[in-house]
């Protein structure tokens, strides 16, 4: 033990005034204040270290929330759109392809021009009016018309998205004192915007599109809906594969395996795989699942498989800990009344270890949900507009969507990026909370 070698200051011996010990005692007393100061400094370093960590935690959350909360509202125009029969359906056939290809943007421009008092006959003015609207405005009006073709010929109030620039101006992200060339809005347009805000036809509404839309090159119509579905598919794959495999492996290693070279090898492998960089799993997925097995690129099943391999060590380690925590007396009791080893495990050990297994599984899933790098390798960096209908369809994942928005040049994506990060963090916090609650509620101390 190291105790003997420690040069601790000696306690002063009890002694008289002329004793040589008195000098030592005085020396020790003198050094005491220095030592206590060192003690205080050491404590302060500890406090500072913790504060540093907490400060960054606060900064990180603060910055993401501050930059991202505005993504949950989106500026929209309430337009009284006259669904002109002559524009939409001149033949009166209600032909689907005619309804699909009609010039709805023109209708929206006209309606907005009336709302803000622009001259509908002046072409330059109409063009400027058009720039205030999202480029996908035709899709929104078309949807209204296709849902109920009997509206054609009537004037209906429709909420349509404003252009990204308008949205940024309203949220104060675009300085209105900038010269018109840099802010890319003319004075005329700003006066229209002010007018629209004043008469209530332009306001910020809850942004449902953020949760339901797919990828888009226009910030105002981009959303994480498609990415969420892709992530869901991947999580299902992980749950279906990693949990049975992980629990089975853990049961074998903890209950059956003899200590020999083979089990040692497995153990070293599991511990090591838990620390292998995630990007290496991506390379594995690319080489094995895509190039060798011929699975399609960008498919969520490949992502799910890669994440399964990544999550497996986490689940195995957690399950082994949970199984190991079940006291041997339970096993002995079951064996004593005649249960086989397998029955002991399935009837007694696994049910008792279940809370621990579930906690480990949820934490593993949370880790998999936030993982980005391996998914970049297998082509999940895709511009996916349609919802994936099967695990083999092209898909993307929530963190990859964040990555794609973060690297996008358009400024309007900044708040979306942070908003999506906020949603991801919220999901992860929920999962971790569930894990904590499970542990608190069902944890047994034997």
């Amino acid at each position: 033990m190291a105790v003997e070698t420690v040069p601790g200051p000696l306690a002063a011996p009890v002694s008289g005034p002329n004793d040589p010990g008195a000098a030592a005692s005085a020396q020790i007393k003198k050094s005491l204040s220095r030592r206590y100061a060192a003690e205080r400094r050491f404590r302060i370093y500890g406090v500072l270290a913790i504060l540093f960590g907490l400060l960054f935690l606060g900064l990180l959350f603060g910055s993401i929330v501050l930059k991202g909360y505005t993504a949950f509202v989106q500026s929209s125009f309430r337009l009284d759109v006259f669904l002109d029969r002559g524009v939409i359906d001149p033949d009166g056939q209600r032909d689907h392809s005619a309804l699909m290809s009609a010039d709805y943007t023109k209708l929206a421009r006209k309606a907005l021009a009336t709302a803000v008092g622009a001259d509908p006959d002046s072409k330059p003015q109409m063009r400027e009016v058009g720039q205030l609207l999202s480029r996908d405005v035709d899709v929104q009006i078309r949807k209204v018309v296709l849902d109920d073709p009997s509206l054609i010929g009537k004037t209906v109030p429709i909420w349509v998205l404003a252009a990204g620039r308008v949205d940024m101006l309203l949220k104060g992200q675009l300085d209105r004192d900038l010269p018109p060339e840099t802010r890319k809005l003319s004075d005329q347009q700003i006066s229209w915007i002010d007018k629209a805000v004043a008469n209530g036809s332009l306001e910020k509404r809850f942004n449902t599109g953020l949760f339901t839309n797919g990828a888009s090159s226009n910030p105002e119509t981009a959303g994480i809906g498609v990415a969420l579905v892709g992530s869901l598919f991947m999580m299902m794959t992980v749950l279906l594969l990693a949990v049975p495999l992980g629990v089975a492996a853990a049961v074998y290693l903890e209950e059956f395996a003899y200590k020999n070279f083979w089990t040692d090898l497995i153990e070293v492998n599991i511990n090591n795989l838990a620390a292998v960089p995630s990007i290496v799993f991506g390379l594995l997925g690319l080489a094995i699942f895509i190039n060798f097995a011929g699975l399609p690129r960008s498919a969520s099943i490949v992502g799910g498989l890669v994440l399964t391999l990544m999550t497996l060590p986490t689940i195995i380690i957690a399950t082994r800990a949970a199984i190991g925590a079940v006291p041997p007396s339970i096993r002995e009791a079951a064996l004593g009344v005649g249960a086989s080893k397998m029955q002991t495990i399935t009837h007694h050990v696994l049910p008792l270890a279940l809370p621990g297994i579930l906690t480990g599984t949820i934490i593993g899933l949370a880790k998999a949900l936030g993982e980005t790098a391996p998914l970049l390798m297998i082509g999940m960096v895709a511009f996916v507009v349609e919802y994936p209908t099967s695990p083999l369809a092209p898909a993307t994942a929530l963190p990859v969507q964040i990555y794609m928005w973060a690297t996008s040049a358009e400024r309007g994506f900044v708040e979306r990026t942070s908003g999506a990060a906020l949603i991801l963090l919220a999901l992860l916090i929920c999962m971790n909370l569930i894990a904590v609650i499970l542990r608190r509620k069902y944890e047994r101390r034997w």
């Binding site: 105790v3 200051p9 404590r43 089975a248 990007i279 594995l284 391999l309 973060a406 963090l425």
Partner: protein, 493 residues
């Protein structure tokens, strides 16, 4: 897909077998001639396993081998001059054959007859092309007759194979069921048999970890050796210039690129060092404070809060570095006259350091707590203050474990991807200046492999060489660190 239908059918058959077995075991039990060896459920499972497993194994083996066998049969039927083509050209031909083969099932019966006639030379390939085009199978040029023939053969072989395997699976399942049913007897050790199968399944599950490691090593080694056909190992490991030169699509080979590992390795190590300079003191001091000084209430609040840092996905750290921290550092640097670029060693290193704090602190916390109380008490008894005890007794005693924790953190830092992708820059610089951007191995793996790429250029293959380097590096660190930590734990147990 016939395989999935066969699998579904097998599952249903297994379910039926289970129900039948259960019923039969119950009947046997009621008759009461002899006591059943196992519970009735095990008899059901016994029958189900015999029905399912042999057929399942055969089906899976078949569906793994089928595409390879068919491809071989089809390509051996190709004319001599096609088989003499280079592999790249041959894969083009195979691609066209596959395109036609995918189109064939969409044809109506009459149109299919036309293709059949074209295959046997009764009509011209142009007719086959016409009917295919009507079904939306676009073929650039008129297909050569051998393409039509090969595609037709492929489709015919596939449908024949599907028939064979369906029949085979059904027959094997039936035989399995009949055999198991014949074996059913009150004395049958059904439970032992079922449990043996379950045990085999458990063992197989536990080998997945080994298979994964083998998969990682093999796949990367294979592609890396392939890469070394283009670039010598010497120029890769000791080159000081990184300039892979993406060639324009189409021009095969492209210009000579430089694939020097050193700038990337330097960037990786530099950022990791900066990260560890942040993470080790902060993590260590917070671990010491948590385990030695903090009151219970402080610990219950601060510890989970710090551990949140470990749960935040790295993409969020990267985002924070990209949109908040990097620009802030740049502005702050400009204020005091330092030229810091928004993505720099400092930005990436600091943020990565923050990410590693909980990693270092929770491992060190465990290790410090494992130091026996008697050492502390001995030191206090000699009159040492608490901080002296920590510095001179606990830390030296815990040192090997802490070194292990730091090595694990270092391996994390080296393999970290998203933070450096967003915050470190993409230019390969060999620089000592922490305010300049550098790039890392992981960044380059990502940038070489994102996008649509062909797989036989050094530009993409280099990613596997980089990945293998990364894997070997982190593997060495991990194994050494785990060895130290393990040995240390045993020391005080």
């Amino acid at each position: 897909m016939p395989t999935s239908i066969i699998l579904l059918g097998l599952c249903i058959a297994a379910l039926l077998a289970f129900v039948l077995g259960l019923a039969r075991a119950n009947a046997l039990a009621k008759k009461g001639d002899a006591q059943l060896h196992s519970l009735p459920g095990y008899f059901g499972a016994y029958l189900a396993l015999w029905t399912l497993l042999p057929a399942l194994i055969v089906t899976l083996a078949w569906s793994a081998a089928e595409p390879i066998v068919i491809r071989n049969m089809v390509s051996s039927g190709l004319p001599e001059n096609v088989r003499a083509l280079s592999p790249a050209e041959q894969s083009l031909v195979i691609g066209r054959i596959n395109a036609v083969a995918r189109g064939l099932p969409k044809l109506s019966r009459d149109d299919y007859d036309i293709v059949r006639k074209a295959r046997y030379g009764f009509t011209s390939p142009a007719d086959a092309q016409r009917v295919l085009q009507e079904r939306g199978v676009a073929l650039g040029s008129a297909p050569e007759s051998y393409v039509i023939a090969a595609a037709y053969d492929q489709v015919e072989l596939q449908s024949r194979a599907a028939l064979i395997i369906t029949g085979l699976a059904a027959a094997i399942a039936a035989f399995g069921f009949i055999y198991a049913n014949w074996r059913v007897h009150p004395k049958l050790r059904a439970r032992n048999a079922v449990e043996a199968v379950v045990l085999v399944a458990l063992i197989l599950a536990s080998t997945v970890a080994i298979l994964t490691t083998i998969g990682i090593i093999c796949s990367m080694l294979f592609e890396t050796l392939h890469f070394f056909n283009y670039v010598t190992p010497w120029r890769f490991f000791f080159g000081t210039e990184w300039d892979p030169r993406f060639s324009a699509a189409g021009s095969s080979g492209g210009g000579e690129g430089q694939f020097g590992l050193l700038p990337l390795l330097w960037g990786t190590l530099y950022i990791s060092i900066v990260a560890l300079l942040v993470a080790v003191p902060v993590g260590l001091f917070s671990a010491i404070y948590m385990s030695e000084y903090a009151t219970r209430s402080v610990r219950t609040i601060a510890k989970p809060l710090l551990e949140i840092l470990a749960g935040i996905p790295t993409i969020v750290y990267g985002l924070f570095a990209l949109i908040t921290f990097g620009p802030y550092l740049r502005d702050a640097g400009g204020y005091v006259g330092l030229d810091i670029s928004a993505s720099s060693v400092l930005t990436a290193g600091l943020i990565m350091g923050v990410m590693l704090i909980p990693f270092v602190s929770s491992l060190s916390d465990d290790i410090i707590n494992a130091v026996p109380q008697s050492l502390r008490e001995g030191s206090y008894g000699l009159g040492a203050t608490q901080s002296e005890t920590i510095r001179r007794v606990i830390l030296p005693a815990a040192l090997p474990g802490i070194v292990g924790a730091i090595l694990l953190a270092a391996s994390r830092a080296i393999g970290e991807t998203m933070i450096v992708v967003l915050a470190a820059g993409i230019a390969a610089n060999l620089t000592l200046n922490p305010f300049e951007p550098v790039t890392t191995i992981t960044v380059k793996i990502v940038s070489q492999l994102t996008g649509d790429l062909e797989f036989n250029s050094p530009q993409t293959l280099v990613a596997f060489a980089l990945g293998l380097t990364l894997f070997v590096f982190t593997l060495g660190l991990n194994i050494y660190a785990l060895y130290i930590v393990r040995k240390y734990r045993e020391q005080y147990e």
